[in-house]
Symmetry: C2
Subunit: 469 residues, 2 copies
């Protein structure tokens, strides 16, 4: 475990711990323009793994990647009334380009519903063109007054999916499929973060949506983080951008659209959902480096054994890196713990003389000695066990820190340490206002069985209430 | 081959042909803000393949991906005198954000030397931190008054590599390695585009560089396209951003930096280097769809055979798509030819009754019949042959249309149909000015043996002179 001086302990100051991890694990730095972020190679490698896993799932649903412009005419934002109201305070605006003042100001995209709506209208002619399933990986800008690396930054990276459908049912069904088969599958199987799935209350919906699905994870301090959202946009954007199709019967009909996104905020979620006082804990299925083979000393025989072990692991499909023995062993171990690499193989001259090396798990610190030639056969099982242990641990924390309560006052008490669950009918608009006085919000509405409601007007819904990032 | 009415013939109007291909192959559309571009799914799938191939090569050289902010303080551009002079006319500037006028205007990055220089200075302490090898995939903005999709757009996608080294030799050697092992290897083996490799004359260098290497490909109209560039930045940016390191001897020393980039312009190069009057011709190693299996008619038996053939090809590692028999067969064939898919497998009921299907090569139209069960074993060899034939054809055109001449007047004549090669000493600054009166430029300087010079001051250099995109 890292020496106490390296990172502020979580119990002492969780936000400070988070900052320390981001800095010491070399994940990111603040950019020179307020709220912007430099994603350093290790942080970016984690994001690339997230991209690869989500991208494969997105393509599996039939969506295709495309790219739409960063710059959107300001006038586009005024076509959907709720949308412009929601985003206006966060916009960055280009007024000067190519050496002169622009006639119409240009908005740097905060999200792309508007410009994509414009092109859907152009590309969609008939029912045969539907559904139109698009996704883009890009940067977006939302001016941020209280920035925090990964969690709230003025520029962030994300994917945003945008689809058009012939019917409400097809649109709603596809959005639900994305929410479950892309986001929830990724969150559970790769990121190892269990969440509460549900819909946002009307007050927290995406600007312009008729329904927003969310996945709310619990961070180690008991606060919630929204991991991904999927929106049913109804016909609001289709109306605003004239996205019509000719039906099989030859009638012009308005499309139903959806949008859905997940961002570099997930890196913040990774840190806070699994990290401990020694630093990051990266689930093996996500980890860009699953195993680091660490030479205890910088000796030819030791380094040679490290390379041999790494080659065997690589051949077994493990993502592996070698740390040759330059500099203090203890310090290098601390650094790899801060980076959260799942398994550390320690190769020292004394053990090696007996044909042995040590395998150390990052999550629980368990250490076992195995024969040099057994590493490649032992590691895959250890990685799989660790993946499921990390998920189980996170689920236990989520369940243990979710408190069933009866009213808003009790929910406010529970939200000081975790999540509260109570009947949505016990909250309502007045309750939401009361919760907000303590910076607590309704994170999502769920059915009693934990499934995702179709609408906030369903009878007998529960809600999950918490402080959040 | 496509009917003449679909695309303007190259010989009639090459720029118009290009526009037609971009539109009809559904590669891209103009965005709503002047000069911006919407990259449609098929164009983006080609770009994703380019990214994957270049990214693997970049990582092979030891560079790591990172991400730096879109927004750069305007003041940064003023620290390197040539850099600001070169880029000022093309900058887009944010003056308003978060609901208020900004105290310092923010530049939307046209390239990232400045902001990355700032962070290199922060991250580099000692010689042990060198070389620092970074790459980023991102969008950049350079305001464009005469935009053309992919070739010149106000926003484009690219990778930009940025590295810092302890010595001139290490920096120059690494830039050369990138130029040969990343760019030229990708261009030759994947894009199938042979180029002239060389250095830019001083007048055409990147703003702030001491040396710029280029790879100049020949388009089908005889004009040149710069496919990728690698810059030695000397100590110019290191000085401007205080990028110092402590040497092994404990002395503070300035770093030597490089930068290198390739962009979505390569998609334009792909179209114009290989395309013909029937549309795109995509080399198999690049193609997102290497084989399309086309049902001649929408019949269960035919569609079933298509799926079977596709499954066998997929199992052989071929990127394949099925076109079930909806709509006119002729029209679908034309569309796949426009998209340049390397091999078309035609599955018709009559052939199928004999157990046969037809394989058609996109480049030369050659058609062979093979047994249904032989497709998966025939196709890989056909794809490989096609890849090398496309490269050989492009090389023949490059060599046949490069004319050795003695002086500027002859070069101007030769540049009306292709490239001219002549002694650099026969051109000089006055010659460059004369060439520019006809929109002709010195594309690169080479040694007599075609290798890349270290400097424009080497004796006995040739230069390649051409009109260009």
């Amino acid at each position: 475990m890292a020496s106490p001086s390296v990172l502020t302990p979580q119990a002492e100051d969780f936000p400070r711990w988070y900052q320390d991890v981001v800095a010491k694990a070399e994940m990111a730095d603040n950019g020179p323009v307020r709220g912007t972020m430099v994603i350093r190679p290790y942080g970016y490698a984690i994001w690339e793994r997230m991209q690869a896993e989500m991208d494969a799932r997105i393509k599996e649903t039939g969506a295709q990647n495309a790219y739409f412009p960063l710059f959107i005419p300001e006038s586009y934002f005024h076509r959907e009334a709720e949308h412009v109201e929601g985003f206006s305070p966060e916009l960055a605006v280009v007024t000067f380009a190519g050496g002169e003042e622009l006639a119409e100001p240009i908005v740097v995209r905060p999200t792309s519903e508007t410009v994509i709506g414009e092109f859907m209208a152009k590309w969609i002619q008939s029912y045969r063109d539907l559904p139109l399933l698009l996704n883009q990986w890009s940067n977006v800008v939302r001016w941020e007054l209280r920035p925090r690396l990964f969690l709230r930054s003025s520029e962030f990276l994300w994917q945003e999916g945008h689809t058009a459908h012939a019917t409400y049912a097809d649109a709603a069904g596809y959005a639900l499929r994305i929410h479950l088969e892309v986001y929830n599958d990724f969150l559970e199987k790769v990121l190892a973060v269990p969440t509460y799935l549900g819909i946002k209350p009307p007050s927290e919906r995406f600007a312009g949506a008729i329904n927003t699905m969310t996945a709310e994870g619990m961070m180690r301090d008991g606060k919630a983080l929204q991991m991904a959202t999927s929106h049913e946009l109804g016909q609001n954007f289709a109306k605003a951008f004239d996205v019509y199709y000719q039906s099989e019967e030859g009638q012009a009909a308005l499309c139903w659209t959806t949008s859905w996104g997940a961002s570099t905020r997930l890196v913040g979620g990774l840190i806070m959902a699994h990290g401990d006082d020694a630093g990051l804990v990266v689930p093996p299925n996500l980890a860009p480096i699953q195993v680091v083979v660490v030479a205890v000393r910088d000796e030819p025989e030791v380094n040679g054994a490290c390379e041999k072990v790494a080659a065997a692991l690589k051949a077994s499909g493990v993502r592996v890196q070698v740390d040759r023995g330059r500099g203090s062993f203890g310090r290098r171990v601390t650094d790899w713990e801060i980076k959260g690499v799942p398994i550390r193989v320690e190769v020292g001259p004394r053990d090696l003389a007996q044909g042995l090396v040590s395998l150390v798990r990052r999550d629980d610190g368990a250490k076992v000695q195995v024969g040099v030639d057994a590493v490649a056969s032992e590691v895959p099982g250890m990685l799989a066990a660790m993946q499921s242990d990390i998920f189980d641990g996170a689920r236990k924390r989520l369940l243990d820190s979710t408190f069933d309560v009866a009213n808003v006052a009790e929910a406010m008490e529970a939200a000081t340490t975790g999540f509260a669950r109570l009947p949505w009918s016990a909250v309502g608009e007045a309750g939401e206002a009361q919760l907000k006085t303590e910076a607590i919000t309704v994170r999502c509405l769920q059915r009693k069985d934990g499934s995702i409601p179709v609408s906030d007007t369903e009878d007998g819904l529960d809600c999950i209430v918490a402080k959040s990032y």
